[in-house]
Subunit: 275 residues, 4 copies
């Protein structure tokens, strides 16, 4: 059995000693720690294996750790997720292919689109597709339908916005705190909002980027998980940028998704620590 | 003799034919063109050699080109420039070294600092250093002293801000339209203004960058010439970012300076075309 | 109607003038040239539109160009291709998705696998899949079966080896000179041959790469079309490298394929010029 | 006082617990570990501060660690080094500038050149320069003169070949095992030996690189510390590659030097682990 232990604690001396003293009966195969000295915060992640029971381990850890520490221990598993999409196939298709080849160890429960465009692609991979159009209803109504659909699909750990071109309200986001992943087609915080490639074109940027982040209340402002760029020049039209950008969008989203699924991402102060 | 021909013209059919028909007696060793179809603008740069006189060539070109075309023909030469600096040596020192090894074919007339810190470095390279402190005087007074000093030094083609940590007023900039080069330590338009690394740290950026641009009236808003990035992670303190950033700052500034000196950069609509 | 003109010629003065003089009745929307001064060779590609007939244009061009020039003029079109694969889905799937979204303007006639593994994926996209196993036959016999299958499928312009894990003999390659595209999972010429990631692991490389190239008689030695890299560190196992490498393999292959399909690639002296 | 603890040990359970149990009286500000499961090797580096004495700590650690463990504890300090150069100023000058701005915390004892070219540059920075020409003497004689000069300069921890264009014999290298740093202007193992840019040009590479590595008996085969690349295209002549390459050569060498000086680099099996 493989477990993942995650700790966030106020920093103090000898934390690693105290933690590892309680893990002596297990085999730690990977561990990472980070201290933010400015904030006095300690972060720790360990992957460990062993036949012994982990019953009581969390409580033992909380006992030796400073007050206000957070500890989680979970068996390594394949997370359940729901993908949201609109019309573009590159991010969605890429995740479907990675799932199929086991490169990405996740369970895709369903895909929800606000258009029907990608239904054939998704159904070909044997995954249920739900169309929830935003037409003819208010944002509140649309988001309620989304929530109903998600509830109907069943317990999900993550929502992945695979080029879902709608802005989600704070009310909706509140249901899935740090559990909605988005890909934005710029190197945030540059070019927030609509049409980032057009913005980059107008600004004469020589580099364009993509950013995978958790969704928060503020548009394109959530904790950044992964970013990448490509170099461009004056020959690129907005359409060229879009096409070239697809390549980093899908790679960056997949990279971030993998990190989140492997429980490597800690969020604090609107930033991420990635082990 | 090597000449550089630069043309900006309203686009129309057969421009290249018309231009090259007038260059038949020369040997074109390199030529580049670009059409911005949206704006209907044609840009052309050719490097050519030959023993024939270029007398009248500019007029002949203007005759066959559409109205409102701009044409310049100059012998290839080593441009004269003045560097401005504050306290950090990495961009300035890098340019001095490139000058010394002939990697950068320029004449450095002088260096002006608002602090005296880098005087020893500069004088070691046999280049005059002028200290023009901003202390005890208004911005206007300080900039007037700068202008006087520049006039005293003599005819310069370019001002290069090699980590010059003062903002120049529109009045000052107006004296050197598209002739002041700056390096900003972020991937513009992200993190405009003061302390971009601190801004990047606070935003939890996974990539930081540097941007070389022409200085205009609006802070950090001028036409971008060159950009580059480095990837960072949560382990980077602001100080680590600064140190790592130095490496791209100096490379990007030097790259942009070389492009400008070789007359490869066209500016239009607050953007650059680089041949 | 859009045409693509490609010229390779011994270099001499005024070639562009001569070429563009014959294109005055067309609208050149893009043109590129390159001179290899060492070899005295001139390369030219233009994309032009127009209602006039191109009858005789090639002959006219050959008349004004130096002896031994090569000229081709073709209407822009969507090339026909056959993909070859083995078991890995990332390159193949990526091309299928790009085809489906029209990002890649090609006609995929069929996919041939030496294993049956990827048949379901391919057939889901409505594309014929042929399994031609290499088991129980000599290399010659296997390649003859491949040739028969390709002939049966019909006229193809390109073969794309999308992680096809068999080495093709010079005899086979001779049928498709500069028409077989391969992706090799290293930054050639580093790590030629089998198991490049294992080689990179053993050598302690800090960067791994992928190379798309035309296949020639010599293994992994053909003209390079596109390359890209990712940075790694000591934490990467060979398996980690393989997974991370997939991302650049598929991007680099797709990029090269697009360039070839748009007729932007010239081959000479085992190198490429890319316009 | 800040100390750096480095451990290489056969892997077994609970090593971190055992190590940190002995460090409870110190404040660990940074620690890293890595296990090579294939080889069964454990690597550990910690930076710690404290007022307590470290007397006996090494012995205590060796007692709890498995047999054949290697432990070193050293106060953090500014290492002494000698630079070797030939005629190119970019790597050497870059290190001199970084030293001057305290970006690189080292003591440069002297620079030795096999040509006199860079003497003025070095002496301007107040650093002794020794010319040891290789002309008129055998390799053995030349290397003996080098060794004599190095002995004369005094105790050095590192030799840094800052574009020193001579190959050092195994006999010479044996005096400085894993203490000679070299920068090679290719992405090793591609383009070993002389003229890597010419090799890259002839091969039609689309990417060129630089590699900083420890020097061993076999040419360009030592453990790689850092690598970086730049993208090129058919427009690059060999001279263009050389110039562009300078930018990554100096950055990569400086990065590797900093890592080594901060004792972050472990060498084993001709590879490096970098913490």
């Amino acid at each position: 059995m493989t477990y993942i232990l995650r700790i966030q604690a106020p920093d103090e001396k000898a934390l690693i000693y105290k933690i590892t003293s309680l893990l002596q009966n297990f085999n730690i195969t990977k561990n990472n720690e980070f201290v933010d000295f400015e904030q006095g915060l300690f972060f720790f992640r360990a992957q460990f294996t062993g036949e012994n029971s982990i019953d009581g381990l969390r409580e033992q850890l909380l006992e030796v750790l400073p007050p206000n520490s957070e500890v989680s221990i979970e068996p390594k598993h394949s997370p359940k997720l729901i993908l949201l999409c609109t019309k573009e196939n590159h991010c969605l298709g890429d995740i479907l292919l990675r799932r199929e080849s086991n490169e990405l160890d996740v369970q895709i429960l369903a895909v929800i689109g606000n258009h029907d465009t990608l239904r054939p692609l998704v159904e070909r991979f044997g995954i249920p597709f739900f169309t929830i159009t935003h037409e003819g209803c208010t944002r509140e109504e649309h988001e309620q339908k989304l929530l109903d659909c998600i509830a109907h699909i069943g317990q999900t750990e993550l929502l992945v916005l695979a080029k879902y071109m709608r802005i989600l309200s704070p009310d909706f986001v509140a249901h899935f705190r740090h559990r909605i992943l988005n890909i934005h087609h710029s190197l945030l915080p540059a070019f927030v909002g609509a049409n980032p490639y057009k913005q980059a074109y107008n600004r004469g940027a020589k580099i364009i980027g993509a950013t995978a982040h958790f969704v928060t209340d503020v548009l394109d402002d959530g904790p950044i998980i992964a970013q990448d760029i490509i170099k461009i020049d004056h020959n690129y039209t907005i359409k060229d940028m879009q096409q070239a950008g697809h390549d980093i969008e899908k790679i960056v989203l997949a990279r971030a998704l993998k990190l989140v699924c492997e429980q490597r991402v800690f969020v604090y102060q609107n930033k991420t620590i990635i082990f």
